[in-house]
């Protein structure tokens, strides 16, 4: 049995070695430090600490929470892209006698961090960000079902982010990939803190996601405007409902599996060890039973965004509403029936592999239905090739090809050749970049005016799009080819005789072009802010939208709608816009809104302490953290004064002040 070095009671296994870092990490730490310093300096100089606390850190307003999700996602995306740059640079240069600039262990930490950050923090962050910002508005609601829970979800997400970022400074990160398969992730082979950072960061962020899933599911079911039956909802709202169903039923599997791995590591249990009756294959089984629904969780809201974007910019109602809804639920149901395709090669028999192979092919069908419906929406529409529309077209071109690659790998014998090759890597990046990222970038551009009150610069947006598209193709088409040529994933070095270097260099150029695209996006943001008075959205409806979020001002007031809209059909706002206008005087009523509270961020801080304690074996800290969380919950539950009233007069003042 393995004994762990206990260290001290006070500090667990934390000691000065945790601060020992190589040059690459030091650069990363320095950049993060500089960023943090700049933020602190700006806040101090502008005397905005109180404002930050009052307006953002203690908010329960879903619109502000959405903005914070996006900011965290973007920052983590920068880290993830930096990892990508390092990997491409390494693989383009580490050939034959040259060994690049990263050691094997560093490379492993880089690709592990890259995957973990991109999926859990960039993609999930953008997703929950957009949902927070827009979903309540789309269903005509003033808020989510459980505003305090919503804030807690965000801060738990941020807490997970903080832990992963801390791993760069104190200790190390995991070298076991974004899913940390045992036996490598067990104590025997990874005794350091890396796996534990990975584990607790995801456990905490995962609980946040689960709570958010419950919240938005309840919101859609219970808080729609009375006239808005489910079949009258916007397609984005339907996609969110489907996604939240997936979150609710998949994330508990992640929680359980991470817990079991933690128990192996902390209490010497034998779930997934390679001896004492453990079964590492069970981990792979469970983690993918979560992992497959997870990727559909990422893509479904992006599909929802496309439904909105295509309809708006084709000036045409979405084609095939009913079949779109059925397709969403087909995808949701099938998501739970395909997970084994992630480990065809682990050794299951032909019957098991065949079943999951067939189901995997079937799941491509409802996605195809959606793509056709979008194209049919465009047919005979009056199309405006706005930036969101460009993102959609880029998606159609890339996602269909990448999806076809997926169907190829759904055939087990083919997968035996392609599993864990760069072909696989190219496939899932096509899905995630071409689908998820393009979709959320389209959504951000489309809904930006609603959130901030002014439009983004179109020209720079177009440059960004083309850089992303061209860069993506340059970066990943070589990988499809390399995969078929036999290149496996996660290689930090290869022989010159393989003849792969040329393609790796092309891929590296591709990443550089993507980075240029990101540069254009940063520029776009700055220029748009500078030009905001020229591009103000004064009507609340800059694009000629069809759904309720466009019926309120931009930005929306804290209560979303001064007067709750009447819904009589699909495309509720379109109907409102084209109905006969009556000139009744507007009668405002008082509105009750939830109060801000510090408890959410406090709970997340305590969760951070729990994670930190378990990572470094500082058990008293973990125990105190848990106790603190229970106490905080009880304190919150005892609070009888959680709402405040906005009087009718105040509403009138806000509404009439906003009108130009």
């Amino acid at each position: 049995m393995l004994t762990i070095k206990a260290g001290s009671i006070l500090l667990g296994r934390l000691d000065w070695h945790a601060l020992q870092h190589g040059p690459v990490e030091l650069i990363g730490i320095a950049s993060m430090g500089l960023g943090l310093l700049a933020a602190v300096a700006a806040l101090t100089y502008l005397k905005r600490w109180k404002w930050l606390w009052r307006e953002w850190l203690t908010t329960v307003d879903h619109k502000k929470i959405g903005v914070m999700y996006i900011i965290v996602a973007a920052l983590m995306g920068l880290r993830g892209v930096t990892d990508a740059i390092m990997m491409r640079a390494q693989q383009a240069t580490s050939v034959g006698n040259a060994h690049g600039f990263l050691s094997s262990d560093q490379f492993q930490q880089v690709f592990s961090a890259h995957g973990t950050i991109m999926i859990f923090f960039l993609a999930m962050g953008l997703m929950f960000g957009l949902i927070n910002l827009i979903l309540p508005l789309q269903i005509g609601s003033r808020d989510v079902a459980f505003p305090f829970l919503n804030a807690t979800s965000f801060w738990l997400f941020a807490s997970g982010m903080a832990l992963i970022n801390l791993s760069l400074v104190l200790g190390e990160f995991s070298s076991a990939g974004w899913l940390a398969y045992p036996p490598l992730s067990e104590l025997r082979y990874s005794p350091g803190v890396g796996i534990d950072y990975w584990l607790w960061s995801l456990q905490i962020a995962g609980v946040g996601s689960l709570l958010a899933g419950i919240n938005f599911f309840a919101t859609i079911i219970k808080m729609r405007r009375p006239g808005m039956s489910l079949m009258r909802m916007p397609m984005f709202a339907w996609s969110v409902l489907g996604t939240m169903s997936l979150v609710i039923f998949a994330f508990p599997i992640l929680t359980a599996t991470l817990t079991m791995l933690a128990l192996d590591r902390l209490l010497g249990m034998h779930f997934f060890t390679s001896d004492f009756g453990g079964n590492p294959m069970m981990y792979v089984n469970l983690i993918w039973a979560w992992g497959h629904p997870e990727v559909y969780i990422l893509i479904l809201p992006a599909f929802g965004v496309f439904s909105e974007v295509v309809s708006t910019f084709s000036h045409k109602r979405l084609f095939g509403y009913k079949s779109m809804v059925i397709a969403i639920w087909a995808i949701v149901a099938l998501s739970f029936l395909v997970w084994l395709h992630h480990f065809f090669t682990m050794g299951a028999g032909a019957d098991v592999n065949a079943f999951f192979g067939v189901m995997t092919m079937v799941i491509a069908v409802p996605t195809g239905v959606k793509v056709f419906n979008w194209l049919f929406t465009m047919y005979r529409g009056r199309i405006k090739f706005s930036v969101p529309m460009l993102w959609f077209l880029g998606f159609v071109a890339t996602f269909t090809v990448g999806g076809a690659a997926g169907v190829m790998m759904a055939v087990p014998p083919a997968d035996f050749q392609l599993h864990n090759s760069l072909f696989l890597v190219a496939h899932f990046h096509t899905m995630i970049i071409g689908g998820v990222v393009f979709g959320y970038l389209a959504g951000l551009h489309y809904w930006f005016p609603k959130i901030f009150g002014f439009k983004l610069n179109e020209r720079l947006g177009r440059y960004a799009f083309w850089c992303w598209l061209v860069g993506f193709l340059l970066a990943f088409i070589p990988l499809y080819i390399l995969g078929i040529m036999g290149a496996t994933r996660r290689l930090d070095h290869y022989d010159a005789s393989m003849g792969w270097q040329g393609l790796f260099i092309v891929a590296a150029v591709g990443v550089a072009v993507i980075v240029a695209g990101i540069g254009f996006q940063a520029l776009q943001l700055l220029v748009s802010i500078k030009d905001r008075h020229k591009n103000m959205d004064t009507t609340g409806d800059p694009w000629g939208g069809r759904s309720l979020e466009w019926s309120t001002s931009s930005p929306a007031p804290v209560y979303n709608f001064a007067l709750l809209p009447e819904v009589t059909g699909r495309d509720a706002f379109w109907t409102m816009k084209h109905a006969k206008k009556t000139t009744e005087p507007l009668e405002y009523e008082a509105i009750d809104m939830p109060k801000n509270t510090p408890i959410a961020i406090i709970i997340a801080g305590l969760a951070f302490a729990v994670g930190f304690g378990f990572i470094w074996h500082i058990y008293w800290l973990a125990a105190l953290g848990l106790l603190g969380i229970i106490t905080a919950i009880i304190i919150r539950a005892s609070d009888e004064n959680t709402e405040y009233r906005i009087s009718a007069a105040q509403v009138r003042a806000i509404e009439e002040g906003a009108a130009v």
Partner: protein, 134 residues
């Protein structure tokens, strides 16, 4: 309902009547528990088991599922939810996911364990399952 569009109507039993419900649920659950327990005890302790191992496994599971429904109806009042029956729908979905996860994992892991065992273990399995020496 007109005033409060987001309210749902829920049927509530008047206090006297529902006591019967809880008592019925309690007694039924008691019986289902004790019967299952007794069957297994009988099988374990007696020299001559009355029922086969396979029969007992199935029976015991059936008794558990029956008790599940008893408690869902008598303690959780799932049958008396008013339309639209969201709780029932979500519970059904959960049940399906649970079945897929548990039965799917058993099927998959069984398969994997069989294919990934050592040659010695495979020989043993062949002798056990087919009665022939490999």
């Amino acid at each position: 309902m007109e005033n409060n569009p987001n309210a749902t109507e829920v049927y509530e039993e008047s206090p006297g009547g529902s006591l019967a419900g809880y008592i019925a649920g309690f007694i039924l659950s008691l019986v289902l528990t004790v019967v299952a327990y007794w069957l297994v005890l009988q099988h374990k302790n007696s020299g001559q088991p009355m029922f086969s191992h396979q029969f007992l496994v199935v029976t015991v599971v059936v008794l558990a599922i029956t008790q599940l429904f008893v408690q869902l109806v008598f303690f959780l009042h799932l049958d008396r939810e008013s339309k639209p029956r969201w709780n029932l729908l979500v519970a059904s979905f959960a049940a399906i996911v649970v079945l897929i996860l548990v039965l799917g994992s058993i099927w998959i892991m069984n398969n994997l364990n069989y294919n990934m065992q050592t040659p010695a273990q495979t020989d043993k399995a062949i002798i056990q399952d087919e009665g022939v020496h490999p």
